[in-house]
């Protein structure tokens, strides 16, 4: 690992100031992604600002504003605590399931909610510094596009990058229309919807999100919804546990009788950001919650997929996973 200076931040504003003053500085939260990438020489910060002891970990009901009655979770809270908090388990079981589908007990005890959103791709070309990668080193090319791309994107990729975004938690947050609150060094705050927070690669795959250097994720807001009775997170992977998704689907339904009033579907493992299956959602609204309709919606969504040489299987996998997630959701979301 390259040498770096280490500073324990005293409060959120001074942490952001320290970062803003140094383009090569990085926040250190749980460290489970950043330290790994530093050991791999992929990330090379000159300074780490440790924000892990700043608090910002509360989980509470939002008492005012657009998301009044929803729930806010602290940006620096741990994944384990978010997954197990009674307010989350009761009102957003989809989020609990998605967090618990990721990583391991140990890692979830360390990983923070903000850090989870900002974890970087697991593309092996990104990880291997001897390989070309436009995300790691803009201009060097994409090793995966014509290389081994079994794990890669089938939606929204560009000539510059075919990597996928790895977080499970974020897929549920996208389905739940969550909002990410950030604050910069001058104390200015802004709220970014999950739909806008992560980017497609386009010409700048080095940018995963729209966050600017120095902005700190202070909290994530979950608006109130009527999905708690019917939601489910499906994760398909190469082994039963402790592996990243090949394809995952977060599905949430609100029904009246057997009629679908609202549908939310987000997919993981298929794109550079959480992929909202908007086409499928629109097709489902107003329809009966039947397997036939689930299949129609799924195949409409997956018809737009553009698989690469080694990942055509993800199209059929996506199809089936959407149907399964919707069925499980109708079934009360029980595992």
């Amino acid at each position: 690992m390259r040498p770096f200076t280490y500073t324990r931040a005293k409060d959120a504003t001074s942490a952001s100031k320290l970062l803003t003053g140094n383009p090569n500085a990085k926040f250190l939260a749980g460290g489970t992604n950043l330290l790994d990438l530093m050991k791999e020489d992929v990330e090379r910060p000159s300074t780490l600002i440790d924000i892990s002891e700043l608090g910002l970990s509360d989980i509470k009901t939002i008492s005012s504003g657009t998301n009044k009655g929803g729930i806010s979770i602290g940006g620096l809270g741990k994944n384990t605590d978010a997954a197990n908090h009674p307010l989350i388990r009761q009102n957003y079981p989809l989020l609990t399931q998605a967090i618990l589908a990721g990583a391991s007990g140990q890692i979830r005890n360390m990983a923070t909610n903000g850090g989870n959103l900002l974890q970087r791709t697991r593309c092996p070309y990104f990880y291997e510094v001897a390989m070309p990668c436009n995300k790691r080193e803009p201009g060097t090319g994409c090793g995966a596009k014509e290389g081994i791309n079994r794990m890669h994107a089938i939606f929204g990729w560009s000539e510059k990058c075919v990597a996928v975004y790895p977080s499970d938690m974020a897929i549920a947050l996208a389905a739940l229309d969550a909002v990410v609150n950030v604050r910069n060094a001058s104390g200015q705050e802004r709220s970014i919807s999950m739909a806008d927070f992560h980017r497609l690669p386009g010409d700048q795959p080095e940018k995963d999100t729209i966050l600017t250097h120095g902005e700190l994720i202070t909290s994530i807001e979950l608006p109130r919804n009527n999905f708690a009775d019917k939601s489910y997170y499906v994760k398909v992977r190469d082994r039963a546990s402790y592996a990243f998704a090949l394809v995952s689907v977060a599905a949430a339904l609100e029904t009246s009788g057997n009629k679908i009033v609202q549908a939310r579907i987000a997919m993981g493992g298929v794109a550079h950001k959480p992929w909202r299956a908007l086409k499928a959602e629109q097709l489902l609204v107003g329809k009966e919650a039947t397997e036939a309709n689930f299949k129609l919606a799924a195949s409409a969504e997956m018809a737009d997929a553009k698989p690469l040489e080694h990942n055509a299987f993800k199209v059929e996998l996506g199809n089936r996973s959407i149907v399964l997630a919707l069925q499980m959701a109708m079934n009360g979301g029980k595992a």
Binding site: N84, G105, Q106, S241
Partner: protein
Amino acid sequence: MFIGPDDHERPNPFYTMDEHESPDLTEDEKRLFADLMPEDLNEILDTGVNRRHFLKLMTLAGGGILAAQSAVAEQLIARPLSETIPTELVPASIENGVNVSLKVNGTARKLAVDSRMTLLDTLRERLDLTGSKKGCDHGQCGACTVIVNGHRVLSCLTLAASCEGKTVQTIEGLAQGSQLHPMQESFLKHDGFQCGFCTPGQICSAVALLDEAKKGHASYVTENVRQSAGPAKLSNEEIRERMSGNICRCGAYPNIVAAIQEVHSGKPVEQVFRSV
């Protein structure tokens, strides 16, 4: 001891030599060199490369791995650590030093560490607590699992610098004197290991897991996460899912699950090797 791929800047016991030690290669070391790099041996002997140099070379070349393939090397490397390094070894150079005070297995420790030093390396290299193992050093195996402030975490992805004021429990701290922790007893009864490399991590993970279950934590296989009613009673499937962050290369999984189930349920569980 651990002889896997290594951070090349990490203080290494093989660099360290007593003043009175001979600067020349020993016969064993010559043989080891001949084993590994036959074409270079003569040049090395001719130019009189000294032992310090050789040992450094071995380490830098990832000698740990190379050497592990050689029978001679095994004897060399198997020399107890205590022969070569003093216990509270202060590494020759610390860059960007950070002072940390932490409590390890009940004892307060104060030390200056390189900002890059992980908790795992600190435990192993500075505090001589070599129970916690370095399997992958990248968060993928769980061999380095320790309990920090009551929660199981991976010490290979934890900076020592970030442990200020924290309480660390390692495998060495589980027993009360000569009285083993019930989880250690149960691993013995159920033969929850073969080579033992993953075992300290498995046991620390299992101990903390039972606390999580007591607090009613859910897992990905929990049937209904909305029902959060008191302590969770864990099926074997639940135990497997919750232990998935601890890989066992020897595949002792059925025995590990049985060992944990016995402590969790408080009732004797039949040993897997008797039931087949």
